[in-house]
């Protein structure tokens, strides 16, 4: 097997496993525990991909955590012209997101938090989407969790929703449903990690045990 083909196979494997292998949410303080339980997910950009990611994450957090999560409809009703562009924690975002957490417009987020009157705001940005050989689609996402009342950052993470497992010519390109499923799966994974690291996991019942 020549080195080019080996590199290709390794790259595909890295893309495939990167979704599950890396932490998607890290608290700023490892001993952090949530004090309140109300939360809103906010799309940081006013494009449809970002709104889709926010909706998916809202559903996932409702299902997998003890947070009382505002629906996207409630968010839109409370915030005029939602979604609007919020400067996010990145320097550039072309093929990958180049992180810079100092760039976030915290002032805007604080204003949003005050309007929504929630304990936590989880802001998601989807500034780029890449396609590898037409077969592997990745929606790149970066997110931050802010705590009231001063929009203090308590956690963050970068991840991607990946549709397609191989770029082999015999395998069809992922369709719309594959991409929707990838977004849903990614949201579930991240929501569970958020719940665990913030001490807000759902309590399992005796029957579930």
């Amino acid at each position: 097997m020549n080195s080019g083909l080996l590199l290709h196979k390794l790259l595909v494997l890295v893309l495939f496993f990167s979704f599950g292998a890396c932490s998607t949410f890290t608290t700023v303080d490892s001993n952090f525990r949530a004090k309140g339980n109300t939360l809103a997910v906010i799309a940081g950009l006013d494009n449809e991909a970002n709104l889709a990611a926010a909706r998916s994450m809202t559903d996932a957090l409702k299902k997998n955590s003890r947070f009382q999560v505002l629906s996207q409809k409630q968010v839109a009703q409370s915030l005029p012209a939602y979604p609007t562009k919020i400067q996010g924690p990145y320097k550039t975002a072309y093929f990958e997101i180049e992180i810079d957490y100092s760039k976030t417009d915290v002032k805007k987020i604080k204003a949003i938090q005050q309007k929504l009157d929630v304990d936590y705001v989880y802001v998601l940005w989807t500034p780029s989407e890449t396609v590898y050989n037409e077969k592997i689609h990745q929606l790149h996402i970066i997110a931050q969790m802010f705590e009231s009342p001063n929009a203090k950052e308590v956690g963050n993470g970068k991840f991607a929703a990946t549709a397609g497992r191989t770029d082999c010519c015999l395998v069809p390109a992922p369709g719309d449903k594959d991409k929707a499923d990838a977004l849903k799966d990614m949201s579930e994974y991240v929501a569970k990690e958020i719940a665990e690291k913030m001490g807000m996991q759902k309590k399992t019942t005796a029957s579930e045990r």
Binding site: N2, S3, G4, L5, L7, H8, L11, L45, D46, N47, E48, A49, L51, A52, R55, S56, A81, K85, K91, T92, A93, Y94, F95, E96, E98, P127, S128, E129, T130, V131, Y132, N133, E134, H137, L139, C169, D176, K177, K179, A180, L183, K184
Partner: protein, 277 residues
Amino acid sequence: MFLVTDRDLPLNAAAWASIYPFAPNFPLSFIISFYYNLKILVQPDHYFRILAQGDTGMKKAVGFRISCLKIVLTAVGILGILAGCGVHKPFAPLDDNVQFKTGSLAVISGDSSEPTMVLTQFLTQELKQRSSYRVMGQEEIARRVGKYPVTIKRAAPEKQEKPVWFTKGEKSKLDAMQAQLKTDYLLVVWTANLNRSIVTYQRGGNRITYSAWIEGNLVEYPKSRAVGYSDFGNSKDQTCCLFGKSEGDDVNELLKDSAKELADEFMTATKSEKPAK
């Protein structure tokens, strides 16, 4: 520009044959080994529609749009592009009889993708500094228009050699913007197919190249008609990593160079370059 994919090799044998003269010293087997080792990352500028199953069981449309153009660039192909094979019009009038007047201009981002917005910023700066037009800043545009940028959808132009990229239906969005901005011209631009291509050499090592395609139209008011167009591609080898820069810096430089090239041709066509001090 040569568009060649893994599946299209047999169909594009003629294309390969046509670029071969540019690389007479490369054995054909060497070129084909380049071809099969090409890895492409494409950043789409569009969204694709995906369907998500809602709680009620009703399918809800949510939005991703994704580019469906397939691009494979070889090192030799890039040489072919730079040698002038294919379209390369940073700016040209749509009609040879167009009379450009001096006045005010707003550069409009044709969509909300990062590359298009960055290109628009660079182009605004170039024209503000170097042209005699009164160029409105991007912040001022956002303030006056409200929701900006908005996506101005493109469609295949009626005349490929003199393209008007937006449909009549989309033009109304530009007209609505101009009503707020009150400029004599709108120069709307889009980026397409921002690519990172990795060419792996048989003897080891690889070469990484970034490329993008830029499209645009100049619309004059009050006649509300397109009078100029842009249709060109640019590429740049990766220089980050070796010199401590980031990949984003390389892409920014590609977009900045593209903006400069468009601005140069625009000022030549409109005779609007400021005299040197």
